[in-house]
Amino acid sequence: MSANLLALFYLVSGILFILALRGLSSPETSRQGNYFGITGMTIAILVTFLSVGNFGTGFIYVLIFLLIGGSVGAFIAFKIPMTAMPELVAGFHSLVGLAAVFVAISAFLQPEVFNLGSPGDIKLASLIEMSLGAAIGAITFSGSIIAFLKLRGIMSGAPITFKGQHLVNLFLGIIIIFLIYYLCRSQLSNIFWSIVIISFLIGVLLIIPIGGADMPVVISMLNSYSGWAAAGIGFTLENSALIITGALVGSSGAILSYIMCKGMNRSFFNVILGGWGATDQTSNSQTKEQKPVKNGNADDAAFLMKNASSVIIVPGYGMAVAQAQHALREMVDALKKNGVKVSYAIHPVAGRMPGHMNVLLAEANVPYDEVFELEEINNDFANCDVAYVIGANDVTNPVAKSDPQSPIYGMPILDVEKSKSVLFVKRSLSPGYAGIDNDLFYRDNTLMLFADAKKMTEEIVKSL
């Protein structure tokens, strides 16, 4: 196949990938979009086989490895519970990163295969591109592994910080740039290996200081990195499908990171440069005098909601931990039978990754047109009878609007306190991730339901 025809086919793949993302603008078109994506991938793989034109023993091995990887992927995709989606995505990011590193290594070892020159005499531009691709890929890999371990709970979600951490990272970054420069002058393979190894180290150091609830930013950021790594490799291989895809994925991840940061009213650098709790805990610890709270049980909650005309559900990460989404759906069904109007309010950073809550609710068969984003629903709290907060905390804290001293001041929050009464399901009065007390607990219109989110919801279903 001629190189020109090949390039055109790669362009078609790239366009199909754009359409795949375009499809996600609404749930109706999204499934079709996914088929576009699959078609684009199939085209890219098929024309690559045709262009190499080597159907000997190597080809058989490629097919075997493709099938092994494919079956593992398919198995994971069907088995994974929806609550584990954040760690799955983090795990997948690490694979893209490592694949980019491997491809860069092969290109460095056998540059003539990719028309990049010969070992020891690789084109300057290609050398820069492949070392950047390898470095970003390696950072993506080790960073995603740390994110995966934290999300999975194998590693503590608490930020790990040490003195001079940022200086070390800065120093390592400068070393990488210096090594790439040196690699271009010397073409020494030891330098190339050093770049890869130091990048692995940077990835680890970059993610360990970031705490559990900042994971939505981390995952989006690593998503973005995996795209830039792919683009770097795309430049090396002079492959437009990879360049287009890398750019798409890179900007997609960047936008998601931006949305997540905005949802917490924090700058990107503030998130990257260390945990919330680590810096702001001092100001709030002394004001911990015991304030009275109203304590209720399932029957009270059932009574309140049954007699309401509208109820808004506010789910958060706690719902995912307790796997309470199905029980919640049953409760809502029971309420609807009683003629109560029910909707769901989702804060942008609820859960551990962008859109996490929406997927869990969809899994529990909640129709997506009952689920609303913060801006769409926030005004409705004033006219709603009961807000049922399940597993969310900081995102409902009115302090974000009133106290400029608070670390979460300025963060957009759900105006839960404006509803006539608030039911707050929580295991204890402990503060949320930001380490601050939630004012909402002590309001007159708040009834605390101290229990596991799933158990409490099931009990409410019974008393309804």
């Binding site: 790239g14 754009i18 993302l21 996600l24 749930p27 999204s30 499934r31 996914n34 994506g37 991938m41 690559t48 086989f49 190499v52 190597g58 490629v62 990887g69 593992v72 992927g73 398919a74 994971i76 995709a77 994974i80 989606m85 995505v89 990011h93 694979l95 893209v96 490592l98 694949a99 491997f102 491809v103 290109a107 070892l109 056998q110 003539e112 295969v113 990719f114 998503n223 995996s226 490799i233 795309g234 090396t236 492959n239 360049i243 895809t245 890398g246 750019a247 798409l248 994925v249 890179g250 900007s251 997609s252 936008i255 962008p354 997927v359 969809a362 129709p367 997506y368 047109d369 984003e373």
Partner: protein, 100 residues
């Protein structure tokens, strides 16, 4: 004067960033998780590089070190392609409208 082909690739790259920017802003927030899993799947198009690396037999053998890295990359990318698209499909299947 001739234009370096690199400039063309750079143009593709920058224009694609813009396309990505506008396309991703139009993605509905409720589908942000599928967006992440599908971007994951498509970034595994890096498999084309892996295939080229794996199939190269410049020295008459397909088991040079560089081939082996190619094969490893194929496995990783394949996990991602199949896993990514299938899990996206599984999620998207769950998004349903209210029954009228």
């Amino acid at each position: 004067m001739e234009i370096d082909p690199f400039i063309f690739r750079l143009s593709i790259f920058i224009l694609s960033i813009f396309v990505g920017y506008y396309v991703v802003w139009s993605v509905t927030p409720s589908l942000h998780t599928p967006l992440m899993s599908v971007t994951n799947a498509i970034s595994s198009v890096i498999i084309v590089g892996a295939i080229i690396a794996a199939l190269a037999d410049s020295s008459g053998s397909v088991f040079e070190t560089s081939n082996i890295f190619g094969f490893l990359a194929i496995i990783l990318a394949a996990v991602n392609i199949f896993g990514g698209f299938l899990v996206t499909q599984r999620m998207l299947q769950m998004y349903k409208k209210k029954k009228k």
